[in-house]
């Protein structure tokens, strides 16, 4: 199973139902007194949020959120393996491994990882909900997954205009995979080479995709270089370091034994 999401920008009215559903489920905390608490400026921390692309005298919205890239910069750069892809290709965060280095936040070309560092009282609603001080992102509502069945993310469930579709890319008969195969739903900025699994059905002209918001290259950590560094340099470096340590240890041991013998 390869879950993917499509946002049909023709159907989307910008009502923000998806944002509200996401906040209610993933960001909000419930207090014992029955209150629902949100971070200040909570839309900023919604795992899907509107972004306006201006061109000429008009502007169009897209919803930006984690793309669950096949070649995910955040996963590649994570030094601890806290950012990872599960068996279905969903990019997730293992908070037990996260050391808050925030490299993933800066590596994401789509700038969809956020970090909330303020106060927030009350209980999280599930284990993948917003963790204060940690990188945060869309999980496709993985907490709704039961067994190995395809589930429905909160934003998809909430969308009254059927503008959000969620399906299995490996199901050739499914609506989602057909829309992608026929080129009706397309991924933005293929030139980045990240292979996103969030697709859009653009409006006429497709300005939302050609002008899709990505960070300027000079402010993105060059994740491909880093990835290469990590895999081709750091691992050998580690192995070499460890090997040398073992070697030196062995030599030291032999020498110590020799010294002892001389005594």
């Amino acid at each position: 199973m390869k879950p993917v999401m499509i946002i049909d920008l023709n159907r989307c009215t910008g009502c923000l139902a998806c944002v509200e559903a996401c906040i209610s489920e993933n960001i909000a905390r419930w207090s014992k007194e029955g209150l629902i608490n949100y971070p200040d400026n909570v839309v900023r921390y919604s795992r899907t949020r509107p972004y306006w692309i201006e061109f000429g005298d008009t502007r169009r919205h897209v919803f930006i959120q984690c793309m669950h890239c096949v070649n995910a910069p955040c996963v590649n750069i994570c030094p601890t393996g806290a950012s990872y892809q599960d068996e279905n290709g969903v990019v997730l965060i293992d908070y037990k491994k996260c050391i808050k280095c925030m490299y993933c936040v800066d590596a994401c070309p789509y700038q969809v990882r956020t970090v909330y560092e303020g106060e927030l009282e009350g209980d999280m609603l599930h284990e993948h909900a917003l963790h204060i001080g940690y990188p945060d992102k869309c999980t496709l509502c993985i907490h709704r997954k039961v067994g190995n069945e395809l589930w429905t993310p909160a934003c998809v469930e909430a969308c009254p205009y059927n503008a959000r579709l969620f399906g299995d890319l490996e199901d050739p008969e499914g609506e989602v995979s057909q829309l992608i195969r026929r080129g009706i739903a397309v991924a933005p900025r293929k030139d980045l080479g990240t292979e996103p699994k969030l697709f859009y059905i653009p409006r006429q002209g497709g300005a939302e995709l050609s002008e899709y918001p990505v960070r300027p290259r000079d402010v993105i950590i060059p994740y491909n270089v880093v990835s290469e560094l990590k895999n081709s340099l750091l691992k050998p470096l580690f192995l070499t370091t460890t090997g040398l340590a073992v070697l030196f240890g062995f030599i030291h041991m032999i020498r110590s034994r020799g010294d002892k013998h001389e005594d």
């Binding site: 159907r11 009215t13 009502c15 923000l16 037990k96 050391i99 800066d106």
Partner: protein, 832 residues
Amino acid sequence: MKGVRDEGKRRFIKFAVTAPLVTPLILDGLSADANAQVPIEYLNLDIENLEWVPSTCIICGQGCPLKIGVINVDGERRIFQETYNYDPDDPKYFAICARPRALGELPNHPDRIKSPMIRTGDRGSGEFEPISWDEALDILADEIRRYLDKPEKILVFAHQGGDKALLTEFFKLVGTPNITKHADTCYVSSSKGRWFVFGKDISPGAVYPDYENARYVVLMGRNPYGGFVSTPWAKSFSMGVSNGMRIVVFDVRYCEVCSLAEKYFIIKPGTDLAVSLSILRHLLVNNMVDRDYLVRYTNAPMLVYRDDLKPVEIFEENGKIKDFIVYDEADGGYKFISEAESPAIFYEGDYEGREVATVLSIIRESVKDYTPEWASSISGVDPDDIVEIAENLYKWAPRSFIDHGYKTVRYYNEPMWHRVNALVNAVIGSIGRVGGWAWPRKVKPKLPIKFKPRDVLSIPSYWEKNGYPLIDKKSYSMLAIKSILEGKPYRPEMVVVYLENLVSHIPSSSKVVEALLKTRFNVQFNTIWDETSPYMDLILPIPFFFETDAISLKGASKANIGQVSVFMKAVDPPPDVDVKPTPWIVYQLVKRLFPEELEKFEIFLNPREVWRWQCEKLGIDYEKLVRYGALKTYSSPDYNPLTRKGKLPTKTGRIELINVDAVSKFSDYIGREHNLNPLPIWIEPLWMKDGLAEDEFVPVDYMVNLSAINTWARNTRLLVEMIKWLEEDTVKINSRRASELGIRDGDMIKIVNPETGDELVVKVRTTRLVAEEVIAGAHGLNPGVHERGVVRFTYMPKHGLNTNLLAPFYIIDGFGSSAMFDYKVRFVEVVG
């Protein structure tokens, strides 16, 4: 991009230095040390077993079916999510907007009224203290009893809510004929304007704009994505966009649908009528009309005398015109239309010595001066664009139309404007057609009781004979206030406000306050505090709609299909909240006042018995309805120009381009610049009469799908955060005007209505995408001076716009509706 973290380079350097040091440690499995910092306590909600309770939203009049996701936490039922609901066999239609998605905040909202409250300070002070339900009900019953022999002195404002119908029946039993809704400050100008064409009030909900099948749609002052009462239409609109529908937008500001439009025009406020008249002229002058449609379904070929517009000759039966004289082009003779082979739609001649012409020729003559250049000089729209729009409407007809609008009480000329738009759609033959204006098929569940009020002179009947012949006799909130102020025909002494916010919702809040200070006793049924609360004597808290089963099913009609839905209780009110449902309150009042009638009200203590009764009457499967919450009643709208009945309630039974009834009733207005003129003519908006001074603006508030004056949507934290994110807690002023006045983006400024002296402080966003004449802001996001005493608005934005707080008390003569934005405010100073 908002909130960019611009630290990439710095992080990269940090990374380059630290990564080689950290990585071996991490890869060695030492990262487990980080575990200590991870907050791992969470509720672990059983989302898999979420219970979806069907209900119906009451924020606006549409009543969209929704599902409320309830989850159990330590034995307490809490609201977790909300989504839309639909007939399980027809999921394509209906939707909910953003407003009802913050329900979970409401049970424990800090502004909630938690028990009956009695006024303790002066009226208007906002000082209240709790009392028991017994005390509250005794007080209210005693007050009502005082008026049992003169019930007309009780004035009831009730428009919203699932139990509203029961409350109004109760007050009919009390005897008052004065029970009003608030459509006069919402859409009456268009519904009455369209009366001229269709012979009956055509409210916005009485038209189904068939976006899904349309090819070309002109939106004027209408934003289906942001507007009120819009979600089923918005859904149809989004389907139309998907289907390639072409869109043109006229508005005083850039709005969401402008991004979808092939062209949009930011025009001067209240000048759309000029554009509509010019479109009509272009169609008629160039014979771009659907002749067959006009002959078959309209009175376009009817011959009328030029001097008085009366039909030349008619055959009348039971007050209806069964036949009328036309000019038959086949043989050049005058005949009854039933006998004519080829009735002329354009013809001018004489009949027995008097000049006659067809109705369509008279209209063409009436609009002949409204050239595109003329319309351009008023509205600022390029003449070529007006021509192009007219020609596209004709080209794509009948799958094209000018949208019918919703909020249509903004400018003085709106009755005429919406009449002209209906005429445009009629001459291109798109009314009652697939892809045009269709007729929705409605279901109206009735109650098992019905009372008649006392046969006394009612407020609307008085005003109907005194200046407002086209008053909407179900919606006259402004004229009701006028009755209190002027004592005509008498002064109501007791005001009952049921889920209404008069002070915020009626133009000229200061006059509404003045009226509420003149009455003897005011009582409000409400859920949370609003701007009207300080002026009440007694406040009775009722549950939110999701905390009780309402006593009636809801007929939802503004979609491709007709549908009925339930209001079902999802959660109980919190233990510290002492609210009572309306049926219980009514029952207690009946017990005190009309014990002999008590038996009739017992059924309402068990609302599901009422639903069952209504289902039987409507032929709906009750068990299925309760299981799913919403069931369709009709599968498609009515695509017949004269409705399924085959006739309209006009004198001719046809679409009347000149209303025969109006010609006799309003003959005095022929030739006058007046909304009652039977002919389409230009009427200037009021603000235009003597222009704008350099520091003056026309205040315009527009709808966003996040706020609502009458209920709690604008008071919830989540929706307010959305409003702030969209910067809708501000007012928009044209950049050039702002610059000239020394106003900068982000300034707080004071504005005043020089006529009334009412002031407001608002926060400014400057933009070039708003008309230079206006100061525009989202509807109702400023409480003005009405946050007082214990009446608090914890989360509501305080520096947006509410035009009603500044408006003069102006009522459109003839119609009784408001001209909500048709006045001027003056920029006073920057205050912060």
